[in-house]
Assembly symmetry: C2
Homo-oligomer: 267 residues x 2
């Protein structure tokens, strides 16, 4: 999917919501837990109830991988079930070198037909570049994550003027372009979005941490929106596990609608 | 597997060789390529021919993941086929936060019964800690990798006195211990092993880059060996693709033997 196609979808839906499919057998409604195909049925119901309110779905690969090869089959069927005009993100945080990185890219772009994959940048340019050579596909590079451990290295200055995540943005934004690279910027540090935009005004940001982790949508939007919108705000648990009963999909829809209504006003 | 058990195996075999099972349908001998279970047959032959010469096997997960769910079945059967006394490394370079990181650890330690998994540290302590809470299991943290991109961030000083990989070693070595943490240190920068050992004298190092990538075993050993040996030297392509014909397993054995003989002299 191109940046223009993504932006067109955002304008048409009045939404820049990404829904995280962190689907966990221990957390889905109890009436589904005995189902022989529980996780897929859960995903299907969530997608049916929310696809007109969001522009992206983001399965977290850890949740599927843990189930063994069966989990990958569920992932494939979930991906097939997502409407074609919706942007898909494999939240896999992969990163290796040479052939290995090339094969991770092929995994998510060819074996599975995701639009994008999240990539860990610790190993540098040759770990990211294989994800940038697939037409219409995107690398979403971890920059400033929403967890406390982000302070260990990403926010570390040494005695430098720039914390690592800013050096990362500056350097890695030259590897590709705003047409094939996005960045993960956690919502838990909204004051830093301004500094991010000073370095990368044009790139899309994938922003986790709104909702369950406490980030503010309004603060993010105030500094983060650019002329292509430039934001995908992710909510996972806050939407998919909002309801515990048989009406869980409707409750998920209500939560997604609350965010969508706010987003429409912000656009 | 405990550190003492690993060291006992190293002494018994006179080897600290790790063989990387980067098994690729495009690179295995042509007579196997038409086989219905080609990759597993290839792995089986390599393991049969080399298991008395090495102390660890390291399947690179990218090569299996790319095949979809079928690849994970091959991985499982390969793991089952590796003798129990050999240390197994899932070279997966995973890293996420919270439940996601916990689930990656469960994937490789429970769903698949690997002894260890390689972990990318960019997201900090809470991305690594879930890998440190499994009895007898190991996190192998990327520190200084063997690729050119290592210079982008790992070797970057900012205006600090310490490059990032040294800050990483200093900080992350307090998260666990030398009994559950190892580090990836590429063989392509052997002069830095001395600096690594100044910070972490006791940890095992997993050293890729000997052979195909040009690193010197003798240089690594000179500065890297400690009282528990403390080194696992990996070779992948240099061993498993040394032969192209029907005798490929014997040729792989010869290459493994050359390294093993050198290692025995160094121990």
């Amino acid at each position: 999917m191109t940046r223009d196609e993504l932006y067109k979808q955002i304008k048409a839906k009045g939404s820049f919501l990404c829904i995280g499919l962190d689907s966990d057998i221990a957390k889905i409604p109890s009436h589904l837990q005995g189902h022989s195909d529980a996780i897929f049925e859960f995903n299907k119901a969530i997608i049916d109830a929310t696809h007109d309110l969001c522009v992206a779905y983001k399965p977290n690969i850890a949740f599927y991988e843990r189930m063994g090869s069966h989990g990958w089959d569920i992932l494939q069927r979930t991906l097939d079930y997502i409407p074609d005009d919706i942007f898909t993100i494999a939240d896999a945080k992969r990163g290796d070198i040479g052939n290995s990185s090339r094969y991770y890219a092929e995994t998510f772009f060819n074996t599975y037909d995701f639009d994008s994959v999240t990539v860990s940048p610790y190993m540098g340019h040759d770990s990211v570049e294989p994800f940038l050579s697939h037409e219409g596909k995107w690398a979403i590079i971890l920059a400033l994550t929403s967890n406390t451990g982000a302070a260990d290295f990403q926010l570390d200055h040494g005695s430098s003027n720039e914390p690592l995540y800013q050096q990362l943005l500056r350097k890695s934004s030259t590897w590709g372009s705003a047409e094939n690279t996005m960045y993960v910027i956690g919502a838990t540090r909204p004051e830093m979005i301004k500094e991010v935009r000073a370095i990368i005004p044009n790139h899309f940001l994938l922003v986790p941490g709104v909702g369950a982790q406490g980030g503010s949508l309004e603060e993010i939007a105030a500094h983060g929106i650019n002329e292509h919108c430039g934001l995908l705000i992710n909510s996972s648990r806050g939407i998919i596990y909002a309801g515990k009963g048989e009406d869980f999909a409707n409750v998920a829809r209500e939560e997604a609608m609350k965010l969508k209504v706010k987003m429409e006003a912000l656009l």
